[in-house]
Amino acid sequence: MSTKKTAETEEPRVGVYICHCGGNISDHVDVKKVAENLEKVPGVAVAHTNMFMCSDPGQELIQEDIKSGKINRVVVASCAPSLHETTFRGAIKRADMNPYLYEHANIREQVSWVHHGEAATAKATSLVTAAVAKAKELEALDPIKVDAARHATVIGGGIAGLRAALDLAQRGIEVALIEKSPFLGGQAANLERIVPTGERAADLIQDLAAKVMADSRIRVYTCSRIVKSEGYVGNFKITLKTQPPDSQADLEKLQEVAAKGEKPGRFVPFAGFLAVKVPTTASEQVLDSGAIVFATGFSTYTPRDGEFGYGQNPEVITLPQLIRFMSQEKSRGRSLTINGRTIRRVALVHCVGSRQIPGIHEPDADGGLNEYCSRTCCAATLQAASEIRERYPLTHVLEYYRDIRTYGRGQEEFYERASENHVMFLRYEPEDPPQVERLSKGNFPLRVTVKDTLTFGEALSADVDLVVLSVGMVPSRIADLVDMMKLPVGADRFLQEVHPKLRPVELANTGILLAGTCQAPMDISEACNAAAAAAAKATSLLSKGYVELDPFVAQVDLSRCKGNGACVAACTVDAIVMQTVEVDGQSVERAEVNPALCTGCGVCVAVCPENAIDVKGWTLEQYEAMVDAIVAD
């Protein structure tokens, strides 16, 4: 790169670009004034403002100044660097300048959103001045290139995991599909017909799972868990432990399968697709993988003891339980019967374990609340309601809801169908949920009372034979993986993407992607879209055979290093080792950094007594220059 040489030898000429952000910044910061102030700072060649620096005209402003030779360093003052740092680096690179000769000042989150008036303008001026001071000290850097394995590991064998594995394989990427249970299909295996298409969940799973099993590029590891994960994007080393199933649920399912005489390769209702023979001994292996796709899915909320009478009355069950009972119910009577009991009237309660509100709902054992809507339960409940009415005309259905959320294409029809089927709707406010009480005498075991807001808040009681709770989704228990891989988790306890719109299927951990309900509640079609989007990202990442990482990593100054070793002990990711080198004919120990492993956190810089280690792009000298600039006035 020719520009690199010139930039380092030439006097720094900094271009400063200040963004209005449409008004987000300029409504509170006098951006013109900031530009005027900056023009006076030594080393600043130009200072411009623009309505949207990230827009095409904004980027062109920078590029023209670079091409005309006016500037050889760039400072952009705008929103948080997490949003647009890469946008501006890209623009600089296209203008043939080293993209690391660029510094960013955040005058939106750190200034205009928190300060107003003259104070805001003054603070913006100081932050930009500091950025200029650092920019003058910047060196040209090159990204770190590391080879990437054309192999991806998909964790979770539900619908999303199956979809992602197939998509990756069909783009020529080798896949390891890891599932903790003996079955593929995940939670969808507990469904009968899905809303709104009416397809059988069994057919969908059978279709996907059979394709996965037939694809030579996919290796399926059931009864397996990840016990160790090391490395970085392109080069993950994943240790896998396969062992005979031990969970009660899996053992019961396996017994049922054995009783039916089913062999691997087929879907078994309410269990899943038995992929391969169940292992009888434990084994471990290590996989080299370029990317990881999380598809660990959800589990259904378990109501607390006594919540709507659950656990205290056998007549209170959950929606998944109802679906299972109904699929086993073969009698052709005109009333629904469950365990031999005729159900004359059933109450369906929405939003159980979802849409919880602080101060109204009781937190769970971990102190958490499920404040989110589980998205899929409204449509599923309406479908169950209509199915009951259509199959068993003598069974009456009451639905207790907060809002009916049949948002999807073809879902509104289920709402309408339920009304046509004379399902009775009652609407409750979260602070007055339906009360379920046991009746000691009379004809019915339970009474449900609610303040119905559809009839001016009147208290309505109904005696019923069955109460069904539409339980929501909670993320699968993956605390071990979250700890091991240091994954970001949201307040809702689902895995947290980098940005819902800019990078919706990526985790902050480069090379780890998100597919399906481990991220948030979604239905099958939405989970498949998310899985395919994650597969597309993984494919772009791995298709070149190498990945480029930011060069902000530690660098040892061998003229100063005395082999003291404090850095090796301090490094949390084992990125530094001691190497024996020859110095003046003597063998000595010196620190050496593995740039691919280094996260640039800087703990080593803090502990080195010799000042012999620094993080590139964030050196002590550069920090000092910034601090000096801020305290100068």
Partner: protein
Amino acid sequence: MEPSRELNFDALVIGGGIAGLQAALDLADQNFKVAIVEKDATIGGKMIRLSKVFPTLDCASCITTPKMAASAHHENISIFTYCDLTSLKRDGQEIKADITQMPRYVDADKCIGCRQCEYGCPVYVPNHEEGNFNFRKAIYIPFSNAIPQIALMDVENCSLCGKCAKVCPTGAVDYFQQPEDFVIRAKTAVLATGFKLTPMDQKPQYGGGKIQNLISSLDMERLLAPHGPYQRVIRPSDGKEPDSIAYVQCAGSRDKTLGVPYCSRVCCMYAIKQAMLLSGALPLADITIYYMDIRAFGKGYEQFFQNAKAMGIEFVKAKIAKIEQADNQYVRLRYEDQEGNGGVVEREHDLVVMSLGMVPDWNPAGVCDVACDTDAFIKSTIPSLAPTVTSIEGVFAAGVAIGPKDIVDTIAEAGAAAMEASKYLNALENPKAA
């Protein structure tokens, strides 16, 4: 007219909204050559015209411009704006698109986007991009972050005074520019043609579009945009700062009589978002949302809704039966009370926003024989497992073109369509591997 040229790409994306841009980027990053064909004079679709976006309240421009710029600068992406797609067909192993480049009356190769023509033009025309709240010129660049930054002339309103041609430093203005036909051939295509809002005037009970200070939700997006037409929120009829603002939910959706039986999925959330932004801009104003069900189902959306309630935004469960003009340009809403004591209630507001629904922007009839559903959106032939697959082999669809959805769901779906298209391309190249 004979097509002037024929161009070849791996993938053709129809529509340059967020769905089309994301699909193009995901394909281009996998090293496929992509063409985006957009009918508008700029890419960016509806998203670039929004104020801020739920649930993060990021400014829409800040999220859209980088995707627009990334597409415009990607070495594997070519963008064709202001184009009319006249035919899209499978032709043997390929997809063939007949396209007409509409005349801008400005030579795209010469225009440098300096806006001298715009400054020079003496004709003022209501600016449709800003809800007609302010004016633009008869020759103009659509808005400050439009891509490409090339002027276009609105011949309907041009007075032929010749000023623009005189001031243009590069001689780009060309009053005699003709439409140009060309052909794009590609191996696969993604349809990302998006939506338009249901019309304001379709319901006689809602005044048939004639009521003052009854505006569409997209107009309110412009009023709220940081760089919007007035830089603040005022009542369009007289410039009064509104004290009371109301939202009519499901104004064009969930209504069989309008032919829109489905839920449009975004209007509850955008109404809540706008209400929050309004309560920031006008802290003293009362804001009421009249709704049937609040559908806050996405990640973080329910929490957003609860925050809005906690901020004091009033939610009234009611289906608005009638909208009328009241005295002093107020808007009167009539509905049946459900939560109080029953009976018919009337309330007046300064400004009322119709939370309009979504209908497809593109009707493929006569252009492309892709199958559509009874709701007029493009039909998905594998709706559960591969929602982006359409009835034509090698043609996929994403975003609102294949059913109402918000930006987050649109972006995921665009990634999925890109995945399907890339698998299709891969299978063509390596027939054995598929």
